[in-house]
Subunit: 429 residues, 2 copies
Amino acid sequence: MTMITKPSLDRWLLQRIFEKIGPAPIRFYFKGENVSPPHVTPLATINVADWQTLAKLILDPEIGFGEGYAKGTIQVEGDLPAALTAVYRTMAERPGPAWYSRLRSKWMEWSQSNSLHGSRANIHRHYDLGNDFYKLWLDAQLLYTCAYFPTPSSGLEQAQIAKMDHICRKLRLRPGETVVEAGCGWGAMALHMARSYGVSVKAFNISREQIQHARQRAAEEDLTGRVEFIEDDYRNLSGKFDVFVSVGMLEHVGLDHYADMGRVIHRSIGNRGRGLLHFIGKNQKGDFSRWIRRRIFPGAYAPTLREAMTVLEPWNYSVLDVENLRWHYARTLEHWLQRFDNSGSAIAAKYDAWFRRAWRLYLAGSIAGFRSGSIQLFQMLFAGPECRPLYWTRAALYRDSQNQPAHKEHEREPGEPQPQREPWIHATS
Amino acid sequence: MTMITKPSLDRWLLQRIFEKIGPAPIRFYFKGENVSPPHVTPLATINVADWQTLAKLILDPEIGFGEGYAKGTIQVEGDLPAALTAVYRTMAERPGPAWYSRLRSKWMEWSQSNSLHGSRANIHRHYDLGNDFYKLWLDAQLLYTCAYFPTPSSGLEQAQIAKMDHICRKLRLRPGETVVEAGCGWGAMALHMARSYGVSVKAFNISREQIQHARQRAAEEDLTGRVEFIEDDYRNLSGKFDVFVSVGMLEHVGLDHYADMGRVIHRSIGNRGRGLLHFIGKNQKGDFSRWIRRRIFPGAYAPTLREAMTVLEPWNYSVLDVENLRWHYARTLEHWLQRFDNSGSAIAAKYDAWFRRAWRLYLAGSIAGFRSGSIQLFQMLFAGPECRPLYWTRAALYRDSQNQPAHKEHEREPGEPQPQREPWIHATS
């Protein structure tokens, strides 16, 4: 207590925080006064405005930080994502008491995705905030999922297109094939598949605003004959397809419904089809922050790979490829946050300060989550037991530019397995 | 029964088999007489020599087929791997009674690998058959694990080198780093890593004959200063390393010891290291055939991905990449079987007919297992929570020839993440 000139309960509590956050380059203020040990170059300063806020932060950090930040009684100056990342990393190296562990593992974790949890209300709350809102800070095609950056300095628009191509190439879509998409957002992926890969797509989403936007785009692009947007729960889907694809929906399915999801997939593509699940996952089992679940994504859950396997295993599906893209999601979110901040005045015209701060914290905390590794992004390619082999090696995915549709490559690919020997007779039939 | 001119119990039992195998292009003989419906172009004919063999086959197909084949009372003419594959596929489409399911799912499945099950006897039995035996049909460097064929027509020698490079590139080995290899076979991988990637390797194996061979190679290549071969259980390993690698050993660890294996990995590479597990796996939980476990690989078990995660999950390791190479293992085994058959006289000079037939069935059945998908081959790349990011996209793995060591590429790689923004400051430190 020697460091503290005016001992108080507030300060004593703050000291308990510093002991844990210690090496993180954060400067803490309480009621405007610096109460933390000096740091050479702090990434950020955090000011806690009053005793009530501090008490809530100590008693229930999962809720307390988010509520305080959104309310404005916790203010952060400096690089918020960098500060949160530093805190996560520091805490990961110095495990503390239970509430610090909770702070580290759950604080700002989150889920973002395209569609469906059992209740329409959950989805409506997030995705029907208004298409205009998302247009202010997403890419032009409104992809609200992890992009794929060919290089770290690629732009967001390019990276979202590259993401769609990366998935289409993994799935090795061929002209004339049929695809079902579960959770299609504003329709960009479905339209891209139909336009660039010549497939027919049936795309499901329970967000009315998103479906309306998607249908309008399909009409504008004259793709209504090949893309059907259906406002319904993916569990109600019917029909047989060659390919199942779901980008950013598994997070909304809920662990209890993974077996159902597997049944829906098998009903759609049977033993001959293949599919791809793109989802936020975790290394170890754990819930999202209660604040995120209360304020941002009701009902969301990010599975471990082990849990995700419960979707596929009952149907004897083979996992062909798992790719971890967590750094790409961090980068995606950096673009979103920058665009969000750049649209400050337009957003302020429509949304109050609480909402803007809450949303900013959600984006910044998500960046920190992906950077520190407390959340991951998995793309999981799988195939039924009677599916044709998709490629001999993954070099096929990287042979040309990322944006080269795979079907153009198909005819001339040198590594393409030939039906010269027994396996490929079965394989290519 | 109208088809059968001379009704008998034997024939009645054979009919039960045909009903299930029906569409598979196999012709069955019993005591030299064709007892199956005509097929236009049978892939193979199977002759069951006597009633005792037939009875054993019906009562306990897992053991009965293998024992009958090895004994010579079941003979197969034609393409044995193709015939077995056809039977597997047909049966997968027509599920039958329990014993047929067992036949389908377990019959000829197997495990092959480099090292360790708790008991040295298990390993000794398979791997200490004599280096001279394996030299007759493996590649020049004696790699007894799935190769990586840049194209389906690549040769085995090239493909085994490409496999080692593929793993080294995935792990992004850098000169001066330290690697521990659990289950090193005849030492090829350890020597390759040291020679081509400039790392120091400590390699464990409990097969005495293999270790002796590996040490001799290290001496011949003047690599003893950088590769240490240790005749011991990997669980006894000590020291800290940058990288953990295990190629074809997890199959011998046994599900009960996965937690131990995770502990050993974490003891070796901590939170900053990375590693790769290369192993035979399955889509759904199931044992290898009892015949394979009795005669070929005592104590072997191929895990599902879900089970494999139990090694990594307790330590908060991130899965970065899973690649399924089952078609590459089928191709590898085709090469091995061809070489085995070509070495018939040399093998006959040392081993009796029972052994030769058993070994041939094991290789052919394994081909069928990988072709039909009842077994898979997974390469799983993982990293600790504080590991530097290894590459920005997997394009880095495919940019040059497969045989280009990754460290040469390292300096000049265009997609290399730069420490321009926050994540990569941490990332590259």
